[in-house]
């Protein structure tokens, strides 16, 4: 029995590979007037939800800007934050969010058959628009990832600037990686390694559950570790916020330089007024600047070259490259158990050469992608070193709009009353 069924499958295997549409069993010839039912095809519910979500997003952004800039109330902001965590996080399960939408926009450029949903475009654009005027109000009360970190922060530890500064570059690099992988069709890494998805979906793979646990534990003592040191959309918001025309101002009247707000800020975003002796003489500043700019060009070139050579290794994440690697391994050692992807490849009956050709083409294109990523990393690092040499004059304590999450903590700490008196 076993042998016959084996023989039968062996016989049928070439047939399987041949054509998809040949009939094995003849179509029935009903005489009883039987009507063929047709399978049900329920419509995507996402389409119904999408515009409602955009409405909620817009409303939440307006509310966040109003609460931070006009009401200056942390309590109300916390209510909004809890709502965002509940709605965008637990109810909508964290998809689609603005953080991941970067990849959709990139894919829409790279892949002709992919069309960006207008609601996804709105999710990408609206927080950036608000940042251009009011700073990162999206982070403060709307983003579900930020919300959960904001809510669990109990005892913020101060991270020294020399650690927080360079770590703040990671989002820009992560953004570069996300763009590279989304545009090459390798996948959406930002969504794949979304650290709070296991919480919002109440379950995930062991790796992601572990990652969620780690981030939640870190968020108890470090203010918004994901937002500050990883979030790729945060990098965009940071740049947009530098241009903010009406960012949150700490003191409602003239600042008295009491330092209370800076002590309160868990994100190290409040910069002190510049002291008189703080400013280096102009000629010294010029020399430092010139030196750093001189280093910048070789750095960018070096990282570009490095990226060119690292490209094929970076391409290993791409599923087609993975298949080619597994296929080559299984050809080398036919006795070893085949991976699922190799088995699927065998069943679909495509030629091995085709797979290797495709993978080689992807790896070639990743050389350019890797070089571009390297150049981007070089520019980011160079811009950071140059920015360190620049000193800007500040007359009072200011929340640096790029790193300020508009959490409204500092407002309550400020002793200045709107009429200029002190409390």
């Amino acid at each position: 029995m076993k042998r016959t069924s084996l023989a039968l499958t062996g016989l049928l295997a070439p047939l399987l590979a041949m054509g998809q549409e040949q009939k094995r069993q003849p179509p029935p010839d009903f005489t009883s007037g039987y009507q063929l039912p047709s399978p049900t095809t329920p419509v995507p519910k996402e389409a119904l939800f999408a515009w409602f979500d955009v409405g909620v997003l817009l409303l939440a952004l307006v509310l966040a800007a109003y609460i931070v800039l006009s009401r200056r109330s942390r309590a109300w902001l916390l209510v909004l934050t809890a709502f965002s965590a509940a709605y965008f996080g637990f109810y909508r399960l964290g998809c689609v969010c603005s953080v991941g939408s970067v990849q959709n926009v990139v894919l829409a450029f790279a892949e002709p058959s992919y069309r960006l949903g207008l609601s996804v475009a709105a999710f990408f654009l609206l927080p950036l628009l608000f940042a251009l005027f009011y700073g990162r109000v999206f982070c403060s009360g709307v983003c579900p990832l930020g919300a959960i970190q904001e809510l669990v922060l109990v005892k913020p530890l101060r991270i020294p600037d020399w650690i927080a500064g360079p770590l703040g570059l990671v989002p820009f690099l992560y953004l570069g990686l996300a763009v590279l992988y989304a545009s090459s069709g390798a996948g959406f890494v930002v969504c794949r390694y979304d650290p709070f998805i296991a919480l919002y979906r109440l379950g995930s793979s062991p790796l992601m559950a572990w990652l969620t646990g780690m981030f939640l534990a870190a968020s108890l003592f470090i203010g918004r570790p994901y937002c500050r040191f990883l979030c790729p959309y945060g990098a965009l918001l940071r740049v947009a916020s530098w241009l903010a025309s009406k960012p949150a101002r700490i003191a409602p009247a003239a600042c008295i330089s009491c330092h209370l707000c800076a002590k309160e800020c868990p994100y190290g975003a409040i910069l002190p007024p510049s002291a008189e002796g703080d400013r280096a003489p102009l000629h010294q500043l010029r020399r430092t600047l010139a030196r750093r700019l001189a280093v910048a060009a070789p750095l960018v070139v070096c990282l570009t070259v490095l990226g060119w050579f690292a490209g094929p290794a970076m391409a290993r994440v791409h599923p087609k490259v993975t298949l080619a690697r597994e296929l080559a391994l299984s050809l080398d050692r036919p006795e070893a158990p085949k991976t699922l992807a190799v088995e699927a490849h065998r069943r679909l009956g495509r030629s091995d050469e085709e797979v290797f050709r495709e993978a080689a083409a992807i790896q070639r294109s990743f050389r350019f992608g890797g070089a571009a990523f390297g150049a981007w990393a070089g520019v980011v690092v160079a811009a950071y070193t140059v920015s360190l040499a620049l000193r800007r004059r500040r007359r009072e304590y200011v929340a640096e709009p790029g790193t300020c999450f508009a959490c409204a903590r500092c407002f309550a700490s400020c002793p200045v009353l709107p009429n200029g008196d002190r409390s």
Binding site: Q20, R24, V43, E46, F109, R115, G203, K320
Partner: protein, 187 residues
């Protein structure tokens, strides 16, 4: 603010902000003009699916958003359905040991001699694809795995697509969200 003239910095920031606005709206306009922006949803291409079983386990939903869908127009209405019965069946009856489906989600109804109608009870189906594999072995491949859009929550990156060994899951326009085989090979 009003009494002192605008600083050079403020004017510059205004300019860059305007430029940023123009650039983003230009970019999105270009994307929207790309033959109409629209939502995409995930779907399984039955011709690429190898019924590895990942659909049942990799979906973020439990049970999975993937279900077996029956294209009646393709079905041979076989008395001995390979989607329903195991290859090494003990007998042609509906005892559990003879059936493929682990959740007993397949209903068989007598239509007329010798034809039987097979229906999938979706509430019980877990999308494991065992029946689909059986139907594909000797049958007309009328049983197919599809992502059911009343269940799919539309993750930005489908976690089944990521694990799918044959890359059978891709984005399709939401206006035509299913890739079911039809009679004559058209979709």
């Amino acid at each position: 603010m009003a009494d002192e003239p605008k600083s050079r910095r403020a004017v510059l920031a205004d300019g860059v902000r305007l430029l940023g606005l123009a650039a983003t709206s230009g970019v999105l306009g270009a994307l929207a003009a790309k033959s109409g922006a629209r939502n995409m949803v995930w779907q399984i291409d039955p011709d690429l699916c190898t019924q590895c079983g990942k659909c049942a386990t990799s979906c973020v939903l439990t049970p999975s958003a993937v279900k077996c869908v029956h294209s009646y127009a393709l079905c041979g209405y076989c008395q001995l359905c390979f989607g329903l019965f195991r290859d090494k069946r003990a007998g042609n009856d509906l005892h559990a040991e003879n059936l493929r489906c682990p959740t007993d989600a397949i209903r068989r109804r007598f239509v007329e001699d010798p034809y039987y109608e097979i229906t999938i009870e979706e509430a019980l189906c877990i999308g494991c694809g065992i029946c689909v594999k059986g139907c594909g072995l000797f049958g007309n491949r009328s049983l197919q795995l599809q992502i059911r859009h009343d269940r799919c929550i539309g993750c930005n990156e489908c976690s089944i697509a990521r694990d799918c060994p044959s890359n059978a899951i891709r984005r399709v326009p939401a206006s035509r969200p299913y890739l079911l085989r039809q009679r004559g090979g058209t979709r």
